[in-house]
């Protein structure tokens, strides 16, 4: 019974800060009553229970499945004796598929896309933006798994990525830059992160010569960096096409 309750108690500590922040500022600083107090309290209880169930489910399902996929995709019986990097192509395809499909379905990305469409006065379209970001995440995660397979140091990739982003920033219309930078952080959702993290750790622990501590992390970093590039590229291309159309007229 204690074991069953313990996760709920732990999670209370995690939810407490945000409750204190919101209630504290509302009541002590602004000196206003909380509107719909009953509803708000029910909301917090649901957040608490939901978060606990989610974390339990994560440890029972998402983490194990990520590791199982990594194990099976890298098993000698599946890829053959040679451990050369190009034999791991199903790993890259799997990483690409997971990245693309989860990002297309990502609700917080949809929310940002809708907001971007509104503030840009319709020149940023919702669907192309979602597809562009999803391609960015997919390429990012598969390149990240390639890195784990080969064991190259992560900072080479990330720092090169930064340089590319900065060069692109220089050539991109100013009003899309903030949006592009944000799309990096927005895309990696609550469900995707644990699964992708488990995939990376699984790859690093099954592939010979890799150390989970050094090689296992980093997939999420790739998934956050590449959408920035793809959104900047999307902005550059639409900008270029618009200009050409205007010149032709």
């Amino acid at each position: 019974m204690v074991n069953l309750l313990q996760p709920f108690i732990d999670m209370l500590v995690d939810v407490a800060p945000i409750v204190l922040v919101l209630f504290g500022f509302q009541v002590l600083i602004l000196r206003q009553k909380i509107p719909n107090l009953k509803k708000v309290i029910i909301g917090f209880i649901l957040v608490w229970i939901g978060l606990t169930l989610f974390i339990i489910g994560l440890e029972k399902a998402l983490f194990p499945i990520g590791k199982i996929m990594a194990d099976q995709l890298t098993a000698v019986s599946f890829i053959g004796e040679s451990g050369s990097w190009e034999n791991y192509y199903w790993v890259y395809i799997f990483a690409f598929s997971i990245g693309f499909s989860t990002t297309i379905a990502e609700p917080s990305l949809l929310a940002v896309a809708i907001k971007a469409n509104q503030v840009s006065g319709g020149s940023i379209k919702i669907w192309p933006l979602r597809i562009v970001v999803a391609i960015g995440v997919a390429v990012g995660i598969s390149l990240g798994s390639f890195r784990i397979v080969t064991g190259m140091p992560i900072h080479y990739f990330i720092i090169t990525g930064y340089v590319v982003v900065l060069i692109q920033t220089y050539f991109t219309p100013k009003d899309i830059i903030a949006l592009a930078y944000d799309s990096g952080g927005v895309t990696t959702s609550t469900v995707t992160v644990p699964l992708v993290a488990a995939l990376g750790l699984g790859l690093a622990s099954t592939i010979e010569g890799r150390n989970p501590m050094i090689d296992g992390f980093g997939l999420i970093a790739f998934a956050s960096l590449f959408p920035i590039m793809s959104v900047l590229a999307y902005a550059q291309i639409t900008n270029f096409l618009n200009r050409r159309k205007n010149n032709a007229l």
């Binding site: 939810v15 800060p17 945000i18 409750v19 204190l20 922040v21 919101l22 509302q26 600083i29 602004l30 206003q32 509803k39 708000v40 029910i42 909301g43 917090f44 209880i45 649901l46 957040v47 229970i49 939901g50 978060l51 169930l53 989610f54 974390i55 489910g57 994560l58 399902a61 998402l62 983490f63 194990p64 199982i68 199903w90 598929s97 499909s101 989860t102 379905a105 609700p107 940002v112 907001k115 920033t169 100013k174 009003d175 903030a178 949006l179 930078y181 944000d182 952080g185 927005v186 990696t188 959702s189 469900v191 992160v193 750790l201 501590m213 050094i214 296992g216 997939l219 999420i220 970093a221």
Partner: protein, 243 residues
């Protein structure tokens, strides 16, 4: 009651949509490519059910309580006009939302497990401390990021300059950080900003940018998340140097 039920089922449907692509991709790989059995299949199905139900309750609860208050608060502080309180609120909002961020809880626990396997941690108690310290390090740095983001909007600083500065900090920290923390640090940038943080922080940014004259919500309102994805990287590398 009926309205609540409809709202709840909508949430359930949305969470299912969130999970559906993962289930489809994994099912395809399992059935068509790998053609192997999944160990502990029952546990995984049960766990997926937990994830689905947990996520639904979580988001339903957020919409019921946290989001309305958070957004109203963000607008009140913008209107109140006191810079000091606005900055304190910005820090507290970034900190509080990040501590409760489910993806961060998951990754911090996993990082602690890996650190234990790597011999960096020896006792159960240290395992817990490692995960907690990692999370609070990230939360504090997100708090500072939101504070910095608010200052940027008010002062009209260029986002590109801040980001370049952030990149340079990351590169410097990378040189000095131990190898085994670099991956976790880079990941923590993307992990921090999800379900709770993004809507509240974006509300604060866009609200602020639309209420200050001469600011454009498009160029100034966004960008908060970008800063909040960079500073945690630096902070976690510093954590790695000190642990």
């Amino acid at each position: 009651m009926k309205k609540k039920f409809v709202a709840f089922s909508n949430n359930l449907l949305n969470s299912a949509k969130d999970l559906a692509p993962i289930v489809l991709v994994i099912a395809f790989f399992q059935l068509v490519i790998l053609q192997q059995s999944i160990p502990n299949f029952f546990d995984i199905v049960l766990g997926t059910g937990f994830v689905l139900l947990g996520l639904t309750l979580f988001i339903y609860g957020l919409n019921l309580g946290l989001f309305p208050i958070g957004e109203a608060l963000a607008f009140s502080f913008v209107k109140k006009g006191s810079l000091v309180w606005l900055l304190i609120f910005a820090f507290a909002l970034g900190f509080g939302t990040t501590v409760a961020e489910p993806a961060l809880i998951a990754v911090a626990n996993e990082a602690a497990n890996v650190a234990q396997l790597g011999g960096l941690i020896n006792t159960e108690a240290d395992l817990y401390t490692y995960a907690q310290t990692l999370r609070y390090t990230v939360a504090i740095s997100v708090g500072f990021s939101v504070l910095l983001g608010v200052l940027r909007i008010i002062k009209g600083w260029s986002l590109t300059h801040l980001i370049i500065g952030g990149y340079i900090l990351v590169i410097i920290a990378t040189i000095f950080a131990p190898n085994n923390i670099i991956g976790i640090a880079y990941d923590s940038g993307g992990v921090t900003t999800s379900t709770i943080t993004v809507p509240l922080v974006t509300a604060l940014g866009v609200g602020l940018a639309s209420s200050i004259r001469g600011r454009n919500p498009m160029t100034d309102g966004f960008g908060m998340i970008a800063i909040a994805s960079l500073l945690p990287i630096v902070a976690v590398m510093i954590f790695g140097m000190l642990w």
